[in-house]
Amino acid sequence: MTAQLVVEDLRIRFHTARRLVDAVRGVSFTVGREKVGIVGESGSGKSMTARAILRLSPPQAQVTAKALRFHEVDLLASTERQMLKVRGRRISMIMQDPKFALDPVMRVGDQIAEAIPADRRGGRAQDRERVLAMLDSVHIRDPKRVFGLYPHEVSGGMGQRIMIAMMLMPEPSLLIADEPTSALDVTVRMRVLAILDELAAQRELGLIFISHDLNLVASFCDRVLIMYAGRIVEECVAGELARAQHPYTRGLLASLPRVGDTRARLPVLTRDPAWLSS
Amino acid sequence: MSAQNTSLRGWLTADVTTSPWQARIQRTYFGWRRLSSNHLTMFGLAVLLFLVIIALLAPQIAPQGYDEQSLPERLAAPSAAHWFGTDDLGRDVLARMVYGTRVTLMIACLVAVIAAPLGLLIGTASGYFGGWVDTVLMRINDVFLSFPGLILALGFVAALGPGIRNAVIAIALTAWPPIARLARAETLTLRNADYIAAVRIQGASALRIILRHVMPMCLPSVVVRITLNMAGIIITAAGLGFLGLGAQPPMPEWGSMLSSGRAHLSGAWWISAVPGIAIVLTSLAFNLLGDGLRDVLDPRSDS
């Protein structure tokens, strides 16, 4: 599989009021037309990495890399104008909470229609048809009714599906999902993931799935990258999580309770300072 | 000496605190460091400290008494003998300014000391209890709020009689409503916080919750608000003085000094200009301090 996205030695540093923070310290990976999961806890640098791909890092962040390439576009060297052609068009991003990502004063249908790139717009009626088709593809049962709703009138799961619809309108080839299901209930989560899975297969999308839930990512994605303190400490094929090598991954897996768990105490992950420099 | 310094600094920045006092002093120290990094705020603070020192040392600093009249010297321009000139009764303007600092600062402090606790208490009670308590208190609040400050103060002074004490009461009565509104708004957001729920299920009484949990969170906004309102308070006091309803002659109050210079504006401009500039500068200083305090005291930020 040829890589769509190539990241090599990505480093992100911040100058905060008190000290220098190395949020990401030499991360390298590639993404083809496959589902790649990035798993880590808060502070591991996973969201920073995702945002850096779209050049959406905070202004005080210094982003450097040996290579940060999407197809033929050099993401690091591109100007803002060139990035505008990539962001939301060729690479889309889904955020965690649809409540905050959708415009509360605009109808859902109109928002999705807005996502159609200007050069591909037809007339109003034609755009409406495209939006309805999109809503249908995310398995929303009554697309015509949902088209006219406002974001506060839809449930969490539906809101997330609307976000997915909106982000897929411009027909990107890479989708970045930053904790897309963390705010959703467990059963709703399954539904949304199934839809993502279906769409990714249909459209041959690359997908970067960022989460803190190791088991979820491992069951959904093809490959899993585990991040700790700004570095990728392990890379696994999804089904083979049990064969993970790195003590952090093993420690994390062991510390999770399971249904039917009979252990008297859960092993607590002890952080080895050596992991910071491995 | 340096060994002593390091141990003091060490105590102030120690990670492990061994007593409640050390923890509190550390917080104050860090707050002070943040405050002092803001230069405009420091300027405001410096001006205020300067005024406080002048007020305290007034008898020593003033070249003469504030009510020593010298009619042959009336309306004299600023000179070496009288740095700010003399007024229409030959009194030294500088001396009157110096003593006037006492009056102005006293009015400002007394009003703050009365209005802030009053507003805080009413606002937090109103916000916490809700229901009819809230309705009654807020309607009273609305009555006071609906009058422009100076007009209301005028009304009170007219009823109570002129004089500094009544002027202070009058201004305080106009200054508490916005504080109460602010405290109420803060209380309403805090009321549903988990930490309030946690202390409720310990069996805490409403009084304890309001005093120990709600008020400390409202206090920073109230302090900032009252500091920013100082400018208005001083100007209201000056306004009352201007209308002859505040400090009575011969007491030197900046507003009444401003007023007495009205008739001589074209000729002896210094009689009004000097107190006028002083009022502006003091208000500015309070505003700058209030702005800086707001940045530091916001409870939602980390130390």
């Binding site: 806890e41 993931l193 420690g251 999770l256 309770p257 | 923890a23 299920i201 310990q202 980390d302």
Partner: protein, 252 residues
């Protein structure tokens, strides 16, 4: 120890808790699992005395409970909240947080009790005068647990105690809770949306949805995965990770 009969919160179609009945034995840990909006948190808030608009019967430790609780009640029943960042007063030090309940109930040896409690939850004396913003999420939750336990209650209610914590910290807190409930012989009700946490910590589980308890089962019954209410099966399968086949069956 705890008996709830026909508990109702809310009216008509908007019932947060709809005719719920269950029973918890002494020293047992009962779990309530369900998704957001199922009423589990409302139920806890009714039990601990925060919510007074309810109808039904509640008996705790042999005493019938009324909407207005006595101070003695609060000594017996305590709660740990979900959000460690919101359940501690930002301006109160650790020492202050722990002394307050003691002061409210006039308990003696305050100093010694605070020191003991800090040790028992794994925070040492070094933390005594710190403020919440100087503590990590796990440390704050330990403090919240200490605060709940310092009154020596017999019943501990836990509202999603580890949901807001990092996964690696979750194990520590769960271990602490396991240890504490054993040494203090506590009766606990644990509420969570995470079936794995609930089945690990609890002996018996109630599955809630739309304000009703659909089914009560023991943990062993849960793992056998047969004969359950359809919703329970959905929860079980969903909690195991992404199952594509299941996902397609789920209603909108």
């Amino acid at each position: 120890m705890i008996t709830v009969k026909n508990l109702r919160v809310g009216f008509g179609a908007m019932r947060a808790v709809d005719d719920v009945s269950f029973h918890v034995d002494a020293e047992e840990t009962f779990g309530l699992v369900g998704e957001s909006g199922c009423g589990k948190s409302t139920l806890l808030r009714v039990l601990c005395g925060l919510n007074r608009d309810w109808q039904g019967e509640i008996v705790i430790a042999g005493e019938a409970i009324t909407p207005n609780r006595s101070r003695a009640f609060f000594k017996n029943v305590q709660m740990v909240f979900q959000d460690p960042y919101g359940s501690l007063h930002p301006r109160h030090s650790v020492n202050s947080v722990l002394r307050e309940p003691l002061a409210i109930h006039g308990m003696d040896r305050a100093d010694a009790r605070v020191a003991e409690m800090l040790d028992q939850v794994g925070l040492g004396a070094a933390f005594r005068y710190r403020y919440p913003h100087q503590l990590s999420g796990g440390q704050r939750q330990r403090l919240a647990i200490a605060r709940a336990l310092i009154l020596e209650p017999k019943v501990l209610l836990l509202d999603e105690p580890t949901s807001a914590l990092d996964v690696s910290v979750q194990a520590e807190i769960l271990n602490l809770l396991t240890e504490i409930r054993q040494t203090r012989r506590l009766t606990c009700i644990l509420v969570s949306h995470d079936l794995a946490v609930i089945s690990y910590m609890c002996g018996r589980i109630g599955v809630m949805n739309h304000g009703k308890i659909l089914e009560e089962l023991s943990t062993t019954q849960l793992t056998s995965n047969t004969g359950h209410h359809r919703y329970t099966v959905q929860l079980l399968t969903a909690s195991r990770g992404c199952d594509h086949a299941l996902a397609k069956e789920l209603p909108d």
